[in-house]
């Protein structure tokens, strides 16, 4: 398969983790943070992965890690590869990629604001991006309690009922069945 061949070529150059093949034209691979930049440049300049589709993060709270995913696309061969980097959650910092893809600067601003992952030297990374006057921990972190924050910050209207859809519909449709 295409992705397997690409993985083998990359594996010869960088210490890669396991290859996760999601589809025939979509695969993910994990690599250490210091090898990310050469791998991105390699994929962009030599393998035709010229398009940064997205840069996103996952908060692995239990493992104390942030996972960054750089999803790259090769338009001519219609396939995507995701590079995953695991960062320690405490003081998470990653080298900026805005000079490889200018769009990365926008993603990095968002990640800085929503997850608190720092990208030093990325343009405008310390400016407010979406939130204005935010005064708590970054809201996409999983230890941020959004319900508690909402109850503390905003006046809730009394009398709101919330039902579990499954049990509610069971009671409505089959009241005498268990």
């Amino acid at each position: 398969m295409d992705m397997r061949a690409l993985y083998d070529r990359l594996k010869a150059l960088y210490p890669l983790g396991e290859l996760t093949e999601q589809r025939a034209n979509l695969a993910f691979v994990t690599l250490p943070a210091e090898y990310l930049r050469p791998a991105l440049l390699h994929l962009r300049d030599l393998e035709g992965y010229r398009h940064l589709v997205l840069l996103t993060a996952v908060d692995w709270l239990e493992d104390g890690l942030f996972q960054l995913t750089y999803l790259l696309c090769n338009r001519s061969r219609n396939c995507d590869i995701g590079l995953r980097v695991m960062l320690p959650r405490e003081g998470a910092t990653m080298a900026s990629s805005h000079d490889i893809w200018p769009t990365a600067a926008v993603y990095q601003r968002e990640l800085r604001e929503m997850f608190g992952i720092d990208f030093p030297d990325s343009p405008g990374v310390d400016e407010e991006f979406i939130l204005e006057g935010w005064n708590d921990i970054p809201p996409y972190r999983r230890d941020f309690d959004t319900l508690k924050y909402a109850n503390d910050s905003f006046a809730q209207r009394a009398g709101r009922e919330t039902r579990d859809p499954e049990t509610h519909m069971k009671q409505q449709l089959y009241p005498d069945r268990d």
Binding site: E132, A150, A155
Partner: protein, 213 residues
């Protein structure tokens, strides 16, 4: 505070230097006042009838509900039949429709837009998000209860309300106006400090004057 809001010297195109203090120069420094009715009830009723026949909506979509206003303002549902039309600026509008969820960031703009509208003015909250937060009830970034921050004259329920529901809601608003019960702007003036306190409680970077008109 943002640099463009600071007091500073500006050089005009004619070479004259002058001082600009944006937080003071462009705004009124008096709180809103209650507008009393006409001297006799029949005249006030006539005014209210006239007001109810010209609802000019500010074309400001705050959330997903704004999508329902497009079929409403175009021939499919054609709200113009009922004397309702959309205007591009707050100065020309007298009805602010909060169309769906309102994030704290948008609330700031909605307050400015509302305060820049001229009396008599009305607020309609559209959809469950404005009533009790709707599906965003536990969101960190949207207000849950619109009437804490702006004086709401009428709520239209639904998620989202269809254009028919909006038309029915506007007819109800007309009835309220004709009955002299759409007094939101006066409530805002009467309880101005309470509204401002609520607004400042959620807008942490308050970088605008208290009186935005």
């Amino acid at each position: 505070m943002k640099p463009e809001l600071m007091k500073r010297m500006v050089k005009g195109p004619d070479g004259v230097e002058f001082e600009v203090e944006p937080m003071r120069d462009y705004y009124c420094d008096a709180p809103p006042t209650v507008q009393h009715g006409a001297y006799i009830k029949i005249v006030e009723d006539f005014f209210n009838w006239a007001r109810s026949q010209s609802l000019w909506i500010l074309g400001f979509g705050t959330g997903c509900g704004a999508i329902e206003m497009r079929p409403l303002m175009t021939p499919r549902f054609d709200a113009y039949r009922y004397g309702i039309q959309w205007r591009p600026t707050p100065r020309q509008a007298n009805l602010l429709v909060i169309s769906g969820y309102l994030s704290v960031k948008t609330l700031k703009r909605a307050i400015r837009a509302y305060e820049q509208m001229q009396n008599p003015k009305y607020v309609v909250g559209l959809g469950s998000c404005t009533i009790n937060g709707g599906m965003y009830w536990d969101s960190y970034n949207t207000i849950k209860c619109l009437d804490q921050y702006l004086p709401v004259d009428l709520y239209i329920t639904g998620c989202m309300p269809r254009p028919e529901a909006l038309l029915a809601g506007f007819e109800d608003l007309k009835k309220l106006i004709r009955a002299g019960q759409a007094e939101g702007a006066n409530q805002y003036a009467e309880r101005f400090d309470w509204y401002k306190a609520n607004q400042k409680q959620v807008i942490h970077d308050w970088d605008m004057p208290d009186y935005n008109w």
